[in-house]
Amino acid sequence: MLAAKTRYEQLTGHLEPEEMIINMGPQHPSTHGVLRLELITDGEIVKEVIPHMGYLHRCFEKHCESLSYQQIIPFVDRMDYLASMNNDHAFVMGVERMLGIDKDIPRRVEYIRVLVCELNRIGSHLIAIGTYGIDIGAFTPFLWCFRDREHIMNMLEWASGSRMLYNYIWVGGLFYDLPVGFEERCKEFIDYFKPKLKELNELLTDNQIFINRTAGVGVLPLDVAIDYGCSGPMLRGSGLKWDLRRVDEYSVYPELEFEIPIGKGEMGKAGDCWDRYKVRVDEVVQSVKIIEQCLERLQKELKRTPEFDPRAKLPKKIIPKEQDFYIRAENPKGELGYYFITDGKTEIPKRVKARAPSFNNLSVLPELARGVLIADLVAILGSIDIVLGEVDR
């Protein structure tokens, strides 16, 4: 069937005498999971990178062919397992729009959804920042980030009963209302977290060694980023103000005030590793801002009442009309999309395809890493911030 040689065969079929193939991963710590990179190297210089993935493939799309919409939510959790709330939110929004009930969701539910999503976004970015420090050789920020993330984990566990894989946002509502006292404790966390963020910046962001390792390395021009379908902090790091929370104006984001940070090339060139890192740090600040606004509204005009039931609008049967529907939402990693094909008869979708941001962001790696040093490859890969659960699905 394959008439011509694939690019892979061309690259690996013939090597020059000074070239060597090195396997990095799947057990290499800086590949952030089970990713294998096949490097064609000339000494310390990487000539080509060929990513091999699929070690964590769990047949998400095949499972969806035999599960109802509500049953798929726990599977969705396990894609980007660092940002389960955001995965749920996108999926649930898609199903709600297909059912036509997206306008009936109580505002308190919407605000709680945004609140937990932004908490989860901070958690995801803290991991990205912390592990990036480790990749570069700074161990302390990693421990500090995990210490602060632990508070978020505890809070979300309090709300949903699970530490990482929440299954908290349901079609038409929520699993439960927030526990009594959640808002106050969340406020306490924010007050605690703000000075810690400042410390983190002093420790890592402005660290001269860190800047030397990341500034001007792995520069991703904007046109290349768009061509490869990069999204999220990858795209914004290259200097484009593109945030689906603002573009699509879903949920209650139009009512909330926040800015979209972009990479400006402060330390080196626009679109380098440092820019991508900085976009994440700035996004954490913006998420804190969103959380504060959510908390204020949840404590004042949308205060909990004894008769409030987050499950009141749950549909008895989830059977969307026969149609195709593509929903996209801004995940911490980028544009997360779900493509549904429904037949209008059963509770089981005909097909669900997930467009994972990490998958697309990773596809630009061979382009970025051509001709860099092996040590810089680690810096570039870390700045992409992939989650293999989502790449392989």
Binding site: T6, G54, H57, C59, Q323, Y326, K353
Partner: protein, 165 residues
């Protein structure tokens, strides 16, 4: 440019046969494009200043079931300057034997991101993309047999002598 405008633009350029049909049911309308022209249509939609679909959000390979024996590819395009979205489809009748795959034109020359998406569609649904420079399996092992997202796929019992189900 809206949906009707895009349709008119394509028919004016490539003749009426370029749009096989329109799917207007549901919330997102879709254009079904003549499979041989998909690459040209994508180039036109990307480069035309009125449409400027510079971002390929998603590419999906679909098996439409054992009764119809149809295979299709669905493209979700997005325009960053216009903040618009568009769905394109190509659909072909084809039998389900695994030594003769349905062939579609690759659009990896239009958007680089399509290359990996097409590899995934090839891997899971068994659709061959003519012109993709690196069409290999991406998520499954290289020596995997069959295409799991086909509706008639039977889950493998074992892999290299190891029981897996």
């Amino acid at each position: 440019m809206d949906f009707i405008g895009i349709k008119n633009l394509l028919t004016a350029k490539y003749g009426a046969e370029v749009v096989v049909s329109e799917q207007l049911a549901g919330l997102q309308p879709a254009l079904v494009i003549e499979p041989n022209l998909i690459e040209k249509v994508c180039f036109e939609l990307r480069d035309n200043e009125l449409t400027y679909f510079d971002f390929l959000s998603c590419l999906t390979g679909v098996d439409y079931g054992t009764e119809e024996n149809k295979f299709g590819v669905v493209y979700h395009l997005a325009s960053i300057p216009f903040k618009s979205q568009l769905t394109l489809k190509v659909i072909k009748q084809h039998d389900r034997s695994s030594d003769k795959l349905p062939i579609f034109k690759s659009i990896s020359s239009v958007w680089k991101t399509a290359e990996w998406h097409e590899r995934e569609a090839y891997d899971l649904t068994g659709i061959f993309f003519e012109g993709n420079p690196d069409l290999r399996r991406i998520l499954l092992p290289d020596d995997w047999e069959g295409y799991p997202l086909r509706k008639d796929y039977v889950a493998a019992e074992e892999y290299k002598g190891i029981k897996i189900s």
